[in-house]
Symmetry: C2
């Protein structure tokens, strides 16, 4: 069974993919892939996703240069979530932070945990 056949895409034809920094172990972002994005990721070795807002496939960093070189790729027990271990060039977040997960629950509010890179 090929890599693609084992993936359970949702009704919209998408699968969530978590990107984790190979160097630091930090979880950087979560985005969605369609089958084409999975194939492009495998073929090129760089993470491709599907933008639900723009309704198109894209290579992470294609405009910003903040690409993600894929070191390892995992599928979970249910086959419906992927985990990419990646080498991140520049910040992963469009806010110019290393990770998209910079709002931390503190005293009942989301506190900004990290400032954008200069």
């Amino acid at each position: 069974m090929s890599l693609l056949d084992a993936i359970k895409f949702n009704d919209a034809g998408l699968v969530p993919a978590i990107a984790q920094d190979a160097a630091t172990g930090r979880v950087l972002m979560m985005a969605w892939m369609n089958a084409e994005a999975v194939n492009q990721t495998i073929e090129t070795g760089f993470a491709h996703y599907y933008s639900r807002s723009r309704q198109k496939q894209w290579m992470k960093g294609e405009s910003s240069g903040h690409v993600q070189k894929v070191i390892d790729m995992f599928l979970d027990c249910d086959g419906d979530t992927m985990l990419l271990i990646i080498e991140q060039t520049g910040p992963a977040c469009h806010t110019n932070r290393k990770s998209c997960f910079y709002k931390k629950a503190e005293d009942g509010e989301w506190a900004i945990n990290e400032e954008p890179l200069k």
Copy 2:
């Protein structure tokens, strides 16, 4: 704005939540939360999710004992994905593996990367 108000639940009223091991940094699983599960997680300090197959909220480990004590909770830039830093009791995966992400892409196939705990 309360923690809950900032979360963008999807059309089904759910938000994906990634669980990462506080000790090892390993990504253990991804599951879904409804608003009630988020509230229960905050109130109890233990991860609660919503089972889409069983259509009910559940506390992780309520039957297996493999609970997740929440150390930190993050929300991403878009407000539509959560990251829980947790202390995992026992294996996180229902297959008795530490992580649900045990299928690794190797030579065009998903190779089993980890055996179940005895």
